[in-house]
Amino acid sequence: MLRKNRRVRYIADRASTAYWLLKQGDFREFMVRLSAEAGLQFEHARNRIIAIADSGGQSQLRYDSNGAGRGLPFNAKELDSEYIDRRKLQPPSYRPTGFKRIAPVNMQADPEVVKGELRAILSSFSVRERG
């Protein structure tokens, strides 16, 4: 049901964008979007076929149950609205405590080593660090 609603919403979104572009007289942009949409749908269909062919129907199950294709190698996670929106959707759990500041920790591990390691880890993400 959820998936069906999402598809309906998606089509409605595309239609209203198309309407808005045509209303604005931006026919060129309309054509650019139309061609991008066609490419996207083609890619989507191709991925589904590959997923099913790769593991005899098993991927189909995973694909459907995990929505955006979580865990499927061909469906790289884009940092788009759908992905971003997942954050904070879950209400915070009951927390019996408040917060307090504590004195800075004395690391046994060499702080410079830890710092370098964290820098390296952060730079390994596709979400890049500032400047």
Partner: protein, 709 residues
């Protein structure tokens, strides 16, 4: 005669008064032959009269008051204040058997390397076992041995244990001194498992004694929810301390993960890794960080994992806190920009502050516009393709209609680079991904439309009650902080006794006429016509900003010509000239919002009113919007609803010099609520809260310390 064995019994309580009488009675009835017993009660901030009751009824009990509601800390306080050979730690929602103390000693006699001995703990009814030791039952989850079982011969002999419970356990002083203080980061639960592991690591043996018996009210003094939370939270601390290489594997088996309590999981892991750096070498830390890099995205997702490592840098004190300020209209010199520039100016030394703009702008311009030097702030310009493609210079979120993706995702992505993200100018479609986020609302102009993200922010800051009221109505949200704009137009030369017969208005000449200059001109003309004596020598001065080609200026000019009385107006006057008029004017008029039905057309706050008050003018302002909060009617000025009222209140002030001076003095005092000093104090409070979210550790509420749950 053999020497007496000194024993200190330490019990910790928090609102445990109902249990204390039974507990202390049974304790005093124990067999104390050869024992010199000292009893210490550590109170964690009880509000049920525990301390008073014990002081009055149990003179032999020494009371120590803990300034935190922290069980492990309470134990440390008790132990540190004792000097005995043995220390017994026990729950007090319990009663003890007469052989309770002797039962411990008989086991200690077996071996000098026995560091701790645990009792046989029954449930209060004495039928079933509560605990005869502690063991690991699933992946780093621990449970009492014998729990809920009938007593049997299996539990009738002393036995060695890997872990013991802190519910009833006696320690040899030498063991406590060797192992050191209890780890206060545990607060409560699992602190005994951690201490057991530490005892073993120091070569001490742990035993169980079947003849030391205690009857326990299970969860008589703590709730199940509290127990569940702390057991899982502290499990990560325990693993980080003793089995760091298993930390990553302990994530999917944690109850937080299984129950989907990912926010608890995130924070507990963060503090566990912090803990690990304090007790493990660099190689181990590196290894664990790498495993987390590989596996955490699977549990928390890429974005949260990135945030995790970024937040860890701050938590470990490896860099300054980064604050990102996004202003899509930062290229204008408006009140909203000034508001946030004042923020940036105040925090730029403390934090690493970065501005995010969509258009080309130099921070040096802020020096010209607002006299604020933002040299220590960095800045970044991020163009939004959606608006670039449409040749829109300023991002207008109203244009985003049926887009599949949110054009402001590019800004959301940027927010990941900051620990605290401040959305400065009400662009409600930016989803904050920083650890802490603040949305500043000067007025909720937009309805809740597609991609509305304001409800994802941690703090919703409003500039006054009027905005707050409309935030509730339009967005059905509760603002978290009220932060009045900073107004600093003080002039030491302004004096209520040295004023001229000038009525001043300072407002932009809006093309729409929303500031109502024409209406004020007509009103003044009418006053002069009707009351020539009372208005003799008075002048109306209108000052405000304007843009080239502003057609409203023609209307103002026509109204002034029509009025044929002492009225002047000036567009884009220099700041020095405005200051001079504030100093000289006796009365200040503000009419924005008159006869308006749309709430956004009413002045949301009214900084110029405060500026006039700081210069001892008497404000006579519209009874609406933010003006209601600034001017107390009849006390520090007047508020009018009609132009007739504006006229009447003005004549009252103009005709009574003393009254005018008294009102001006009160207006001056009132204006202090909205000055830069107050702004900075309130901002500091807001940021202290943000820092707590970012860097804070768990704390249980303690009435005396006033900490919130």
């Amino acid at each position: 005669m053999p020497s007496m064995i000194k024993i200190t019994a330490i019990t910790v309580t928090f609102n445990g008064l109902p249990y204390l009488e039974g507990f202390f009675s049974s304790l005093m009835a124990t067999d104390q032959q050869g024992i010199d017993l000292e009893v210490i009660l550590v109170d964690n901030g009880s509000t049920d009269g525990t301390v008073e009751w014990v002081t009055e009824n149990c003179p032999q009990v020494r009371v120590i008051e803990n300034d935190e509601n922290n069980y492990a800390r309470a134990l440390n306080l008790g132990i540190a204040s004792s000097t005995s050979d043995y220390v017994v730690i026990t729950n007090n929602d319990a009663t003890v058997h007469p052989d309770w103390l002797q039962g411990f000693l008989t086991v200690f006699e077996r071996d000098d390397n026995i560091g701790a001995v645990q009792s046989k703990i029954f449930f209060a009814d004495g039928e079933k076992i509560n605990s005869v030791g502690v063991q690991e039952v699933e992946h780093f989850y621990f449970a009492d041995i014998g729990f809920d079982e009938e007593d049997s011969s299996r539990f009738s002999k002393p036995k060695k244990r890997e872990y013991v419970t802190g519910g009833s356990v006696m320690f040899r002083r030498a063991c406590l001194e060797d192992v050191g203080p209890w780890d206060e980061e545990f607060i409560m639960f699992m602190e005994d498992v951690d201490y057991s592991a530490r005892c073993s690591e120091h070569g001490w043996k742990l035993w169980y004694s079947p003849t030391s018996i205690l009857y326990h009210q299970y969860h008589g003094s703590t709730s199940q929810a509290l127990c569940e939370y702390f057991c899982t939270r502290n499990r990560f601390l325990f693993v980080a301390k003793h089995f760091p290489l298993e930390l990553v594997d302990s994530i999917p088996t944690s109850h937080f993960f299984k129950k989907g309590e990912l926010d608890h999981l995130y924070r507990s892991l963060l503090h566990a890794v912090q803990k690990m750096t304090t007790c493990q070498d660099a190689d181990t830390v590196k290894q664990v960080l790498h495993s987390l890099r590989d596996r955490l995205p699977e549990y928390l997702g890429d974005v949260a994992t990135y945030m995790f490592f970024s937040q860890l840098e701050v938590l470990l004190g490896l860099r300054k806190i980064r604050v990102g300020i996004y202003d899509h209209a930062g290229h204008f010199a408006g009140g909203g920009q000034r508001y946030v520039a004042e923020m940036a100016d105040h925090i730029q030394d403390r934090y690493d502050v970065g501005y995010i703009f969509n258009n080309d702008v130099e921070l040096s311009e802020y020096k010209e516009w607002f006299d604020l030097n933002l040299d220590k702030c960095s800045m970044k310009i991020i163009k939004i393709p959606f608006f670039e493609e449409r040749n829109r210079y300023t991002a207008d979120e109203g244009m985003v209609l049926g887009e599949r993706t949110n054009p402001f995702d590019i800004i959301s992505k940027e927010t990941l680079n900051y620990d605290i993200f401040i959305n400065a100018n009400m662009l409600g479609k930016v989803n904050p991904l920083s650890a802490v986020s603040i949305f500043i609302c000067h007025f909720p102009d937009q309805e809740k439309t597609r991609f509305f993200q304001v409800d994802k922010y941690d703090h919703l800051v409003i500039n006054g009650d009027y905005t707050g009221e409309w935030v509730k109505r339009r967005w059905e949200m509760e603002p978290s902080t009220k932060l009045y704009p900073p107004v600093n137009m003080y002039n030491p030369l302004s004096n209520p006794d040295d004023k001229e017969k000038i009525i001043l208005s300072v407002s932009r000449f809006e093309i729409s006429g929303s500031k109502k200059q024409v209406e004020m001109i007509d009103t003044f003309a009418e006053m002069v016509r009707q009351y020539p004596e009372e208005t003799r020598d008075w002048k109306l001065m209108l000052i405000g900003g304007s843009t080239p080609g502003n057609t409203y200026m023609e209307e103002v000019e026509a109204a002034v010509a029509r009025a044929q009385c002492n009225i002047e107006y000036k567009a884009n006057a220099a700041v020095s000239e405005i200051k001079d008029y504030y100093r000289r004017a006796s009365i200040f008029w503000h009419a924005c919002g008159l006869d308006e039905e749309r709430p956004e057309r009413v002045e949301h706050f009214g900084m110029t009113t405060v500026e006039s008050m700081q210069n001892c003018c008497v404000p006579i302002v519209i009874d609406g919007g933010g003006q209601r909060e600034i001017v107390e009617h009849g006390e520090s000025g007047f508020r009018f609803s009609t132009l007739e009222e504006l006229m009447a209140f003005s004549l009252t002030v103009m005709g009574d010099r003393n009254h005018c001076r008294r009102l001006a003095e009160r207006a001056y005092r009132r204006s202090g609520l909205f000055n830069r000093k107050v702004f900075r104090e309130n901002l500091d409070r807001l940021l202290a809260e943000a820092e707590l979210q970012l860097l804070g550790h768990d704390v249980l509420p303690h009435p005396a310390a006033g900490e919130a749950a």
